[in-house]
């Protein structure tokens, strides 16, 4: 049953029809399949997403993003579709990355040919302009994995060699055998020090050059000294450094640290790339009016101000401009947060990144590229993220005093013994340095945070920056965005008033008969409400006409012919030709030939756990604000529903950013929860930020936590988890401090046998890791 055709059918049901896009753009079977791609056949355009294949002269290697793809079956279908095009030599589709790599021969085939094959299969191929940045990240990830595996494998073997020395009875192990095991350990520690530790030494060197101290400096110093002492112990057992070796503790420590860093890198990469892919959200090509009155498809990059372009329903505006011809509804939710479609007639401004919902329009381009509002928001966001308030990492703050104390202790010990036994003095100093190797200190933070991140990931919260835990634990204010955060994007029907003599159910059915022809969110809400009551779904409509900014009109009759057909109008009060009392809620009217028939009151669908979440945050002593780009009344209504007392409507991205900066300057630690593009700058500038899984990719890229499910309660869960994590981090740091406080004096007076020092080092690391793992178990109580 897994032939190609059925694979497409399997794929189709997952295609999430996003309410914001009018259900058309992202859905493969909704008519974008005829998009003109010929502009891509210009070889000048190729270099953005392709490069010549080095192995043969006329072959190119291209990277494309695939839209509408959701599972492995889709990947196979697309591969088949690509390979069936003559001239395509190789096609690889990544099921997880939603990307395809295509090798094709420019003699035989053009990019538009194989892209059309992808469209015929029911998907959409978009040139991936960020492919080469991704490749760099990939090689970085490979190197990190390779470093970790080298350290891990060598650690295992070194432990084997170290084992006999710990368990053998005196005299069991011949000196020659012991020497052989040491040499073997030394050989296997060499790649760990020379290769795996590279990043630590690199960072330490950078710290020294920049005259500052981070945790990497004591770590690198500890590693280097331990290795030097162990090497001396191996090759010159009677030398001044003594005859002890610490290869096993050294390799284990390196492996732990590298494993932590590799996991951190994977967390980062899981959502990275969204930023680079963002520009793919603007369309690649657009129909431009030529002088002879025909349209040609040109790349968006070639657009100039004063060009006239045509945008079909379901398409996205590629540039800011003014409508010359046509009446339409546009969805600007991504940019302004305004949840209702806005009407744009002749002379109206349209902005890049918004969607054309209902009619074909012609527009004159005014601003392109970097000057569009879309690009300005992106720039605002980038600059906001670089001015993020600095949060010194707890461990880095400790690093400096730690280093000073250790060096001081070693120096004192050396000076103390110098007078009586110069040979012994150096050995004691080294013992101090080895025993304080900052294993536990440097593992304390990452171990706890990784364990917490893993526990949260199982509950649908992805952690993008581990440092965010420290900030999260100390926040005192949460700012919510309204649309898509506290509320869902869709609207729901509230109360209904009807003319005497007609039933609510009947009126609703009549309205739904008209509304099903419209993509307007209000229409969708009416259809959804009607399908729930489903009394007699027999009302039908024809001659339906939709006027942008007004409403829908048409002829409606009942299916069982018990009622006569009537002409109905559904929409604003003006459109229906009636007067209604002013109300601050969103109303839609229905009228027939005799006048007013019904009024539907609609409101936004507040998330079911919004009230509980706000209450829980208040209980934890956290102030909650609501900032919305929507109108002040809409903000007030939602605020009242979830019992938020501080709210503000009509906020532009800049407003929100100013509000946040003010709060930060008066000493508040602020977390922001948002999802629209206009939340991007605030998310980037906040101490901690949350984005929802359905959010715009750029918003996700700027967020510290990405909530995958629909649960607002994840914010509270994350808060509790962050506080618990910080508690464990502190315990770990205390333990490391106590361990050092006990061992250093012992080492200074020369009472600490070397084997005990090595064992203590290893145990302190293990204990810290085990303490951190408690987080994943205790997380079960969070539910």
């Amino acid at each position: 049953m897994f032939n190609d055709r059925s694979a497409v059918n399997v794929a189709a049901p997952h295609n999430r029809i996003d309410a914001r896009y009018g259900g058309q753009v992202e859905s493969p079977d909704a008519g974008v399949a005829t998009e003109d791609l010929h502009f891509l056949d210009d070889p000048q355009e190729w270099s953005a997403f392709s490069r010549p294949d080095p192995r043969s002269t006329d072959c190119w290697e291209s990277n494309v993003l695939i839209e509408g793809m959701h599972c492995a079956a889709c990947a196979l279908t697309i591969e088949d579709a690509l390979l069936s095009v003559p001239g395509v030599l190789k096609a690889e589709v990544g099921a997880a990355s939603h990307r395809a790599r295509v090798v094709w021969s420019s003699d035989v085939v053009r990019p538009s040919d194989w892209m059309r094959a992808v469209q015929t299969a029911g998907y959409r191929a978009v040139p991936a302009n960020d492919a080469f940045a991704r490749e760099r990240r990939k090689s970085e990830a490979r190197k990190a994995l390779w470093r970790m595996l080298v350290a891990g494998l060598c650690m295992m073997q070194v432990m084997m060699y170290a084992y006999p020395a710990y368990v053998a009875a005196p005299g069991d192990l011949t000196p020659e055998m012991e020497q052989l095991l040491r040499w073997a350990s030394w050989v296997l520690t060499l790649p760990v020090i020379l290769f795996s530790c590279g990043p630590f030494f690199g960072n330490a060197l950078r710290d020294v050059l920049q005259r500052r101290v981070s945790m990497d400096l004591p770590v690198a110093l500890g590693m280097l000294i331990t290795f030097a002492v162990s090497t001396a112990g191996t090759f010159d057992p009677r030398g001044i450094f003594g005859r002890e070796v610490y290869f096993d503790s050294l390799t284990m420590f390196v492996f732990f640290l590298l494993a932590g860093r590799w996991l951190e890198l994977r967390l980062r990469d899981r959502t990275a790339g969204a930023l680079e892919a963002l520009m793919n959200r603007l369309p690649d090509s657009v129909a431009r009016l030529c002088e002879d009155g025909t349209y040609e498809r040109v790349p968006v990059r070639r657009l100039l101000p004063d060009d006239v372009i045509r945008i079909l329903p379901g398409e996205m505006f590629p540039a800011d401009g003014v409508v010359l011809q046509g009446d339409t509804m546009v969805d600007e939710a991504l940019l302004t947060g305004e949840s209702r479609p806005v009407a744009r007639g002749v002379g109206g401004m349209v902005i890049a990144g918004s969607h054309n919902l209902s009619n074909v329009v012609q527009a004159r381009v005014e601003r392109v590229g970097d000057k569009t509002r879309f690009a300005q928001i992106v720039t605002l966001m980038e600059s906001a993220s670089t001015t993020k308030p600095p949060l010194a990492r707890l461990a880095d703050r400790i690093a400096k005093p730690f280093l000073i104390v250790v060096l001081l202790a070693a120096g004192l010990a050396c000076a103390f013994w110098w007078g009586r036994d110069p040979e012994h003095a150096l050995m004691v100093a080294v013992a101090v340095l080895v025993v304080t190797c900052p294993c536990a200190l440097s593992l304390a933070t990452p171990a706890a945070m990784l364990a917490a991140a893993g526990a949260l990931a199982r509950r649908g919260v992805l952690v993008r920056r581990l440092e965010a835990f420290e900030a999260m634990a100390s926040i005192d204010t949460v700012m919510f965005d309204k649309t898509g955060t506290l509320t869902r994007d869709v609207m729901v029907l509230g109360s209904t008033q009807v003319r005497e003599g007609v039933s609510v159910v009947q009126v609703l059915d009549m309205a739904a008969a008209l509304a099903q022809y419209s993509l307007h969110p209000v229409s969708k809400a009416l259809v959804a409400a009607a399908s729930e009551t489903a009394a007699s779904p027999a009302w039908k409509a024809n001659a339906v006409n939709e006027i942008a900014g007004g409403g829908v009109s048409g002829r409606v009759w009942s299916g069982d012919a018990t009622q006569t057909a009537t002409d109905l109008r559904l929409g604003s009060a003006d459109f229906c030709g009636i007067k209604v009392s002013q109300s601050d809620s969103l109303q839609t009217c229905l009228s027939d030939e005799r006048g007013w028939l019904a009024t539907f009151e609609l409101h936004e669908d507040v998330r079911s756990d919004a009230l509980d979440t706000v209450a829980a945050l208040h209980r934890e002593g956290i102030a909650v604000h609501l900032l919305s780009g929507d109108s002040a009344q809409a903000a007030a209504r939602v605020a009242a529903q979830v019992s938020i007392t501080e709210f503000q409507g009509d906020c532009s991205p800049q407003h929100k950013l100013d509000f946040l900066r003010n709060a930060q300057q008066s000493g508040h630690k602020v977390a922001v929860v948002g999802d629209g593009l206009n939340d991007g700058p605030v998310l980037a500038a906040a101490h901690v930020s949350f984005a929802f899984g359905q959010a715009v990719p750029l918003t996700q890229a700027q967020a510290d936590f990405v909530v995958l499910g629909d649960q607002l309660g994840a914010v509270v869960k994350t808060l509790l988890m962050a506080r618990r994590t910080l508690r464990v981090v502190r315990q770990n740091l205390w333990w490391a401090a106590i361990y050092n406080a006990v061992c250093v004096p012992l080492a200074v007076v020369g009472l600490l046998p070397a084997w005990l020092a090595g064992l203590g080092m290893a145990l302190s690391s293990l204990l810290v890791v085990l303490n951190a793992l408690r987080l994943s178990y205790s997380a079960k109580r969070l539910g």
Binding site: F2, A72, L76, G94, A95, R142, L149, L153, Q157, Y161
Partner: protein
């Protein structure tokens, strides 16, 4: 127990062989897309 003088050096060499194998696996991308190869069996052709 003299055999140990041969076996211990041999084990060191063995580790380097295993490391070579890991290097091959990582840089051939064996750990990057772990799911789609398994799902390839569902393919008809």
């Amino acid at each position: 127990m003299d055999i140990l003088y041969l076996l211990v050096p041999l084990s060191v060499i063995l580790v380097f062989f295993i490391l070579g194998g890991l290097w091959w696996a990582i840089y051939r991308g064996q750990f990057e897309d772990v799911e789609s190869e398994g799902e390839r069996i569902l393919k008809d052709s």
